[in-house]
C-alpha cells in the first residue's frame, strides 16, 4: 500500500454557523487523478479549498478534523502555509489572471519564489504555456494584458501559472467549465500527462470527464462524502443508490 498524499480524517467545515462539510474521511493517492462529483452547493469547492488552506482567507470559515499532507497536519501551528501552497497548487473555478501581461502572470509566480534569472523565467513561461496548450495562441503577444484573453484562454493561463511553480499536487476546481470542447480535450490530455509526476484532484460536473480522466472518484451530497472508490467501480457498480441516481442523471 502506497502512502497517501493526503489523508483527511473527520473533516468538518463551516461558514459562520453553516455546516457545509460533514465528517469527511478520504485518502488521496499520489500519481493518480481523483475526481470529485456532486450537485451544486454540496461542498466540493470548500473541500479542495481546505487542502491548500486558501479558505483561511475567508474570515467566516472554520474547520475541525485533520488534513494530513505526507503525514503532516497542515492545520498544525508550525506549518508554513506559503510553502504548503507552493507545493499544493490550485486552479480556480473562475479564471483569475492578474491584470498584467501574459508573460508577467507567469513570471510573477517565479519571482515570488526568488527566481530572478531571466533565461530561466523565459524558458518556464514558454514550457508552462506549452503544457497548458496555450502557447500557439499567445506566443506572439506575450506582452498583451491577460484580461484581454477569452475566458477559456484565461483559464489555460491560470493552469500554466500553476504549473510554472512546479507543485506536487494540483487542485482543479472545475477547470473546464468555461472551455470549448477542443481546449477541454487538451486539458484532459494534459491531466493525463501530469498524472505521471503529480497528484491531481479535479472537481467536475461533467460525468464523462470524470470517467475519462480519473482513477478514483468521490461523490459528495449536501456536505457528505457518500461514496469514494475506484472510478470504474463508481460508474459501473456504485454501492449507494444516491450515487447511482446522480451519475445516471436521475437526480436534481
Amino acid at each position: 500500500m502506497v502512502n497517501p498524499t493526503f489523508r483527511i480524517t473527520g473533516l468538518d467545515a463551516f461558514y459562520g454557523n453553516k455546516h457545509v462539510l460533514k465528517n469527511i474521511n478520504i485518502d488521496i493517492l499520489p500519481n493518480a487523478v481523483t475526481a470529485l462529483i456532486g450537485p451544486s452547493g454540496c461542498g466540493k469547492s470548500t473541500f479542495i479549498r481546505s487542502l491548500n488552506r486558501i479558505n483561511d482567507l475567508i474570515l467566516t470559515f472554520r474547520r475541525e478534523g485533520k488534513v494530513c499532507y505526507h503525514n503532516q497536519d497542515i492545520y498544525a501551528k508550525d506549518v508554513d502555509v506559503v510553502e504548503l501552497r507552493r507545493r499544493v497548487g490550485m486552479v480556480f473555478q473562475k479564471p483569475n489572471p492578474f491584470p498584467k501581461s501574459i508573460y508577467d502572470n507567469i513570471a510573477y509566480c517565479l519571482k515570488v519564489h526568488g527566481i530572478k534569472d531571466k533565461d530561466k523565467i523565459d524558458a518556464t513561461v514558454e514550457s508552462s504555456l506549452k503544457k497548458a496548450a496555450l502557447w500557439d495562441e499567445v506566443k506572439n503577444s506575450l506582452r498583451q494584458n491577460a484580461l484581454t484573453l477569452s475566458g477559456g484562454q484565461q483559464q489555460r493561463l491560470c493552469i500554466a501559472r500553476t504549473l510554472a511553480v512546479e507543485p506536487e499536487v494540483i487542485l482543479f476546481d472545475e477547470p473546464c467549465s468555461s472551455l470549448d470542447p477542443i481546449s477541454t480535450a487538451k486539458i484532459e490530455e494534459l491531466i493525463h500527462q501530469l498524472k505521471q509526476s503529480y497528484t491531481l484532484i479535479i472537481v467536475t460536473h461533467n460525468m464523462q470527464q470524470a470517467a475519462r480522466v480519473s482513477d478514483f472518484a468521490g461523490f459528495f451530497l449536501l456536505g457528505e462524502l457518500i461514496e469514494f472508490d475506484k472510478t470504474d467501480k463508481i460508474f459501473t457498480a456504485p454501492k449507494d443508490k444516491r450515487t447511482e441516481d446522480y451519475i445516471t442523471g436521475r437526480f436534481g
Binding site: 491548500n52 486558501i54 482567507l57 474570515l59 506559503v82 510553502e83 501552497r85 507552493r86 507545493r87 497548487g89 490550485m90 480556480f92 473562475k94 483569475n96 489572471p97 492578474f98 491584470p99 510573477y108 509566480c109 519571482k111 515570488v112 519564489h113 484580461l147 491560470c158 501559472r161 500553476t162 510554472a164 511553480v165
Partner: protein
C-alpha cells in the same frame, strides 16, 4: 387610463424638480465664478506672483502666500501620505477583525467629519505650544497632515477593498506571501484610486484656512521661509538647510481672507485675483484626480 396619465405628470414634475435642483447649484457656481473673474482677472500678472503683500493694493502680491502654501503642502504630504497609506494597508490587509479594530475604524470615520477648527486647536496645543514649534510652517504642515490623515486612510482602504478578492486568492495560491501579494498585486491595482484620494485630500488641505488661523499663522508676511537649498559664493557653494521649517508663514486662503477684510477697493480686487489663483489650483488638482481615475479604470478591468 387616468391613473397612467397622472403617473406621467408626476414623473414629469420630478424630472423638472431634479433638473432645477441640479441647475441651482451650477448656476450659483457660475455666477460666483463670473463675479470673481470680472473682479480679479485684470489684476493677475507676473508681479502679482512675485510681490510680497503691501500696504498699497497695487503693489501687493501673493509671493509669501503661494510659497507658504507650497511649503505646508509639501510637509503635509510628507507626513500624511506614508502614515495614511500605511494605516490604510494595515487596517484593510493585515489587521484581524476584532473589537479593537472595529473601534479604530469607527473613530477614523468620525475623525474625517470633525470640523477643521478643532484640528487647529489640537495643532495649537500640541505643535505650537507643547512641542514649541511656534507658528512655524512645520506646525502648519503637521496640523494639516492631521486634518487629512483620516481622509487618506479611508480612501486608501476603499481603493484596496475595490481590488477583487479573486486576485488575492490567485496570488496566495501560487505561494506568494502576504507582503508579496500586497506589494505586487493589490497595491498596483489600487494605485490609481489611492492617488485620486490623495489628490482630493491635498486639494482640500490647500484651501483650508481655519486651522491655520487657529494655530496663529500670520496674515501679513513680507519674507519667505529660508529655502532648503541655497547657493553661496564661497565653498561649499551648495547648501542644504531645514531652518526654513521653523520660519513663520502664511498661505493663500489666509492672504485672501486678510484682503477681503480690508476696506479699500484695491484689496478687494486683490482678493478676487487670489481666489482665482486658488480656484485654478484646486481645479487643476481635481481634474488631475478625475483623469487618473479614468485612466486607471481603462487600464484595469475585471
Amino acid at each position: 387610463m387616468n391613473k397612467t396619465k397622472q403617473n406621467k405628470i408626476i414623473d414629469k414634475c420630478f424630472g423638472f424638480l431634479g433638473i432645477a435642483a441640479t441647475l441651482f447649484g451650477l448656476i450659483m457656481l457660475l455666477v460666483f465664478i463670473i463675479d470673481v473673474l470680472s473682479d480679479g482677472l485684470g489684476r493677475i500678472n507676473w508681479s502679482f506672483f512675485t510681490s510680497f503683500p503691501s500696504r498699497k493694493p497695487e503693489q501687493a502680491g501673493i509671493l509669501s502666500a503661494w510659497v507658504g502654501s507650497v511649503w505646508t503642502m509639501f510637509i503635509t504630504a510628507m507626513i500624511a501620505l506614508p502614515l495614511g497609506i500605511g494605516a490604510g494597508i494595515h487596517l484593510e490587509e493585515y489587521a484581524r477583525k476584532s473589537r479593537l479594530t472595529n473601534f479604530i475604524e469607527i473613530n477614523i470615520a468620525n475623525l474625517a467629519g470633525v470640523p477643521s477648527v478643532i484640528y487647529g486647536l489640537l495643532g495649537l496645543g500640541l505643535f505650537v505650544r507643547y512641542l514649541q514649534l511656534d507658528r512655524s510652517v512645520l506646525a502648519g504642515g503637521f496640523t494639516l497632515a492631521l486634518l487629512i490623515l483620516p481622509v487618506i486612510i479611508l480612501s486608501t482602504r476603499e481603493a484596496l477593498r475595490a481590488v477583487p478578492f479573486s486576485m488575492r486568492e490567485a496570488s496566495y495560491a501560487v505561494g506568494a506571501t502576504k507582503w508579496q501579494t500586497v506589494r505586487y498585486q493589490v497595491l498596483p491595482a489600487a494605485f490609481g484610486n489611492i492617488l485620486t484620494g490623495i489628490i482630493l485630500a491635498m486639494s482640500r488641505a490647500v484651501g483650508e484656512t481655519a486651522p491655520l488661523i487657529t494655530i496663529g499663522a500670520l496674515t501679513y508676511i513680507a519674507f519667505l521661509p529660508q529655502s532648503p537649498i541655497y547657493f553661496s559664493s564661497g565653498f561649499p557653494y551648495l547648501h542644504f538647510s531645514l531652518k526654513g521649517l521653523f520660519d513663520p508663514f502664511t498661505v493663500l486662503p489666509i492672504q485672501i481672507f486678510n484682503w477681503v477684510s480690508r476696506p479699500q477697493k484695491g484689496f478687494f480686487t486683490n482678493a478676487a485675483a487670489g481666489i482665482i489663483v486658488l480656484l485654478g489650483l484646486t481645479l487643476i488638482m481635481n481634474t488631475l484626480a478625475i483623469i487618473l481615475r479614468h485612466h486607471h479604470q481603462k487600464k484595469i478591468r475585471w
